[in-house]
Symmetry: C2
Subunit: 234 residues, 2 copies
Amino acid sequence: MTSAKSSGPGAPKVRLSRDIVLEKALQLVDSEGLDALTMRRLGQQLGRDPMSLYRYAENRAALLDGVSELVLNQLKVHPEDPDWKAQLREIAHDLRTLALRHPNVVPLLVTRPLSTPLGLRPLGTLRPLEQILSLLVAAGFEPADALHVYRAYYGFLYGHILNELQEYVVDPEENEALLRLGLHRLPAREFPRLRALGPALSDYDGAAELDQGLTILLSGLEAQLSRQVARRGA
Amino acid sequence: MTSAKSSGPGAPKVRLSRDIVLEKALQLVDSEGLDALTMRRLGQQLGRDPMSLYRYAENRAALLDGVSELVLNQLKVHPEDPDWKAQLREIAHDLRTLALRHPNVVPLLVTRPLSTPLGLRPLGTLRPLEQILSLLVAAGFEPADALHVYRAYYGFLYGHILNELQEYVVDPEENEALLRLGLHRLPAREFPRLRALGPALSDYDGAAELDQGLTILLSGLEAQLSRQVARRGA
DNA sequence: GGGTAAAGTCTACACCGTAGACAGGCGGTG
DNA sequence: CACCGCCTGTCTACGGTGTAGACTTTACCC
C-alpha cells in the first residue's frame, strides 16, 4: 500500500500512462462533475505538473474523448448472439446502468460526437456500432437496413437515458421535496397537468420504462424485417 | 438604418432588454458555436460593457437557459388537436427542423435539463411538456399513462435528433470526402461493416427516418392505449 | 560512462466569469 | 423648478482557465 495517492508528496515516482491519467480523470468527473476536470485539478490529483498531461492527451477535448471511450469500453456486445432482440435488450439495459453509474459522463457521450465526424471518433466509441451492425446482419437484415434499425434503436436508447437522467436525483427523499417545491413554483393556470403529476413523477421505474419502449420498438422493427424478407423472397 | 450595429461606436443609445440580449446571444451561438458565447464577446456584439449583461441574466448558465428557452418557444403545440397521433408527428417534425436550424443549441437543449430539477427549469422549456400531456389526456390516456407515453415519445424524438445531427455535415460534398477519409482511417479488420457502409451513410434522409420510427412507436403506443381502455371497460 | 529520447517542469500569455464600487440619466414627487 | 431614488451601464480587479515554448530531469541502451 505504498502507491502514490492523490496529494501525498512522498512518492511521485510511478510513471504516468494514458490509462492512469484517464482513470483519474474519470474518477474526478464521477465525483465532482465535468467542470471539475481541469488540467490543473487533474494534475494536482496525480501529483504532477498540469503540463505533463499534454504528453498523454493533445488537449482538454481529447481528454474528454478519452473519458467517453473509457466508459463506453465497459459495454460488452455479443454480435454472435442468435437472438438479436434479446441481445439488443441486454445491451440497452447495460448501457442504462452504465449511464446511471457515470451520470456526469453522459453529457459527453451525447455531445462530443456532435462535433466530431464519425470517422474521426475514438475507436472505442465506434466499436459498439460496428458490433451491433454485425449482430443485425447476422440476424438477416441487409446492411443498409441494419443501419436504419441501428439508428432507430440507438436513438431511442439515448433518448431514454437522457429522459431518465433528467428526472434522477440522488437522494429520493430530497427528490420528493425538491420536486414538490419546484412544481409548486409553476403557475397553476398554465401547468395544471404537470402540477397534478407530482406523485407520478416521483416514482419512476426507469428499467421498466426502458423495457416497455424496447418491446414496442423491437416488435415494430421485427415486423419490418419479416416484411423485407418476404419481399426479397417474392 | 441608424440602429446600433455590432461595433459602430456611433449610436450606443437603445436600452438593452432581456430579449435583445438573448436574441444576440442566439445569433452568436448559431454563427460561431457555443464556446463563442462569452460575456465579453456578447457584450462586444451589443456595443456594451460585458458587465451590463448581468442585469439581464444572473450568470452565464442562466444566459444559456435563456437561449434554450428562446428556441423552444418557437415550437407550437396544438393540444386540442383531435388526432393525437398526427399532432405528435407534426410536433416531431417541427422540433427536428428547429434543431437543424439551430444545431449549436441542441447540446444545450439536451444537457441543461440534466443539471436542473424539473420544477426549476425555464417555463418555456416546460410548456411543450404540459401541452403534450393535455393532448394525450384529451385523447383518452389516464394522466399517469400520458406521462409514460410522453417519455417514450420525447425520448425517441431527442434520440433521433441527436443521431441525425451526429451525421450531419454542412457541405454534402465535403461530407462525402470527410466521411470516406474518416472511414478509411478505421482498421479494416475490426470495422468491416462500418467501412462498407460509406455510401449508405452519406445519403441519409432524416425526415423519412424520423417518420418511420414514429410510425412504429405511435402504433405501439396506440395498441397500449386500446388495451388499457378495454381493461378499464371490463 | 556517455548519449539520447522521453517525461516532467517552469514561466508566461491571453482569455474567462464575475464581485463590488461607482457614475449617469431617468422617472416621480415636492 | 429642484430634489431624490432607482435603474442602467461602466470600471477595476481577482482568481481561475487552456496551452505554447523553452527548460531540466530521468530512464534506458550501447
